[in-house]
Symmetry: C2
């Protein structure tokens, strides 16, 4: 079995992004945060650090875990209207009572570098230019980097989130794959996932996908990032047993994750250069 | 095999819509037309007639087959801004060079009664309130009318149009079906469609789906409306041979079609009563 790490691709995307960022006025990403969740704050700081590394300015706009939904929406709208800000991202989780989908409607689609606005998802589905969520884009970038054929092939996406599963289904359809979306209510999950030539797991349940879920030789992309007891990360794929069946598998950590951050920055540099 | 006609359901929807329309100020639907295509004009006139039958005003705004895209977009925006118009629909085909997806962005989502604006599709995908395209809504209404179980079942949609296949995939996912979208580039179509407990054909190719494409007992919904040489309509399903295999099948004509028109009017009445 072939392992498909993301670090080399992420480094290439970052290098290209750095060049794009240096070519014009400095791109600026604003990340709106309204949580005390440690993993979330860690991720946001890692974005800021990666942005600095490629010459992109990154403002953390921390509204605190008690922020009212209206205030979050107003902040997203204000940043969207600010000509000095090129990318706007809203970090989840949000305070209780706030709907990420509704609030993200306040992000200008031209600055929606993490594809959170439902209009971005709709434009993506309709085949119009739009930024996909960085995670969904990272899955496609990895498949392309490793030259995985998609045309006419059977792709199965486990997970139907607005952030990964649904936009990914549209990106795969756009590449002429035959696409199945399965989820927690799917009966006999293994019978569905084992039809996949390309299988993407984006459910958020450690070890959900075992050897019985995977067709021999399948390309398996693991989007899961589940915390382990020792403070590490593990994917949705039971990698030990799946390695004996799959043809190729992305590692966690070091697979989709680094590519996601790199693409978020690429989107920001591109947003800064939109005509 | 059970036949699943749409006329009874359409009549029930029309009766309910007539009551809703009579309860407030008269709803008004504006249909923008920019084609000389006879089938299209026939369909638009049938909408106007059906609207009159349930007490909904219907304006045909005919810009002619040579209308410039800008003029179509401006017309959609003007109608969207008109407080006396509650539903705005853009009939296809459009003149060469006009993008239906881009132009439909000018329709206020609250008046987008045929779900043509990419924002409506994105909101639908994100689980937010939105009008689905009337055809996609008609498929769901027929499945519900005939009490077809969807939870956890395998649904296959043949066709990936923005008008039917894609929104329908989201509507089926939202009902907890496991959903596969296949299309012209799908390899071995029969091997995919024959896994369906619920199969929807929305490709636009007469007789594409034969007996070998259908699992014994499957519920089959035929969205195809292909013109026949004698001036009639035929579906995407080869109904003669499929009838021997399927558990249930919608007829063409008289299946999805009448329900679609009735739901377009229901959406208009609802748009008129949005808070």
């Amino acid at each position: 079995m072939k392992t498909l790490p993301g670090k080399e691709l992420a480094a290439a995307v970052r290098a290209q992004t750095q060049a794009e960022a240096a070519a014009g006025p400095q791109p600026r990403l604003a990340v709106v945060v309204a949580t005390a969740d440690e993993a979330s704050l860690w991720y946001v700081r890692s974005i800021a650090k990666a942005a600095a590394g490629v010459g992109i300015a990154c403002d953390l706009v921390d509204l605190g875990p008690g922020a009212a939904p209206d205030r979050i929406g107003e902040t997203l709208a204000r940043l969207s209207a600010d000509p000095n800000v090129h990318g706007v991202m809203m970090q989840t989780p949000l305070p209780a009572g706030a709907s990420a989908q509704e609030l993200a409607g306040a992000i200008d689609p031209r600055k929606d570098v993490d594809g959170a606005n439902p209009l971005s998802l709709g434009r993506l589905a309709a085949g119009l230019p739009a930024f996909p969520p960085a995670t969904a884009a990272a899955v496609m970038a990895l498949l392309d980097h490793y030259e995985v054929e998609l045309e006419g092939r059977r792709a199965v996406v486990a997970g139907r989130s607005t952030v990964v599963g649904k936009p990914l289904a549209h990106l795969l359809l756009d590449r002429n794959a035959t696409v199945t979306v399965c989820h927690s209510r799917t009966r006999d999950l293994a019978s569905v996932t084992s039809t996949a030539e390309v299988l993407v797991a984006a459910v958020g349940r450690a070890g959900l996908i075992g050897a019985a879920h995977v067709a021999p030789g399948a390309v398996v992309i693991d989007v899961g990032t589940n915390p382990t007891e020792d403070g590490g990360l593990t994917g949705d794929i039971a990698s030990g047993e799946v390695a004996a069946v799959a043809g190729a598998l992305t590692p966690v950590p070091g697979g989709v994750g680094p590519v996601t951050t790199a693409l978020l920055l690429r989107h920001t540099a591109r947003a800064a250069n939109l005509p």
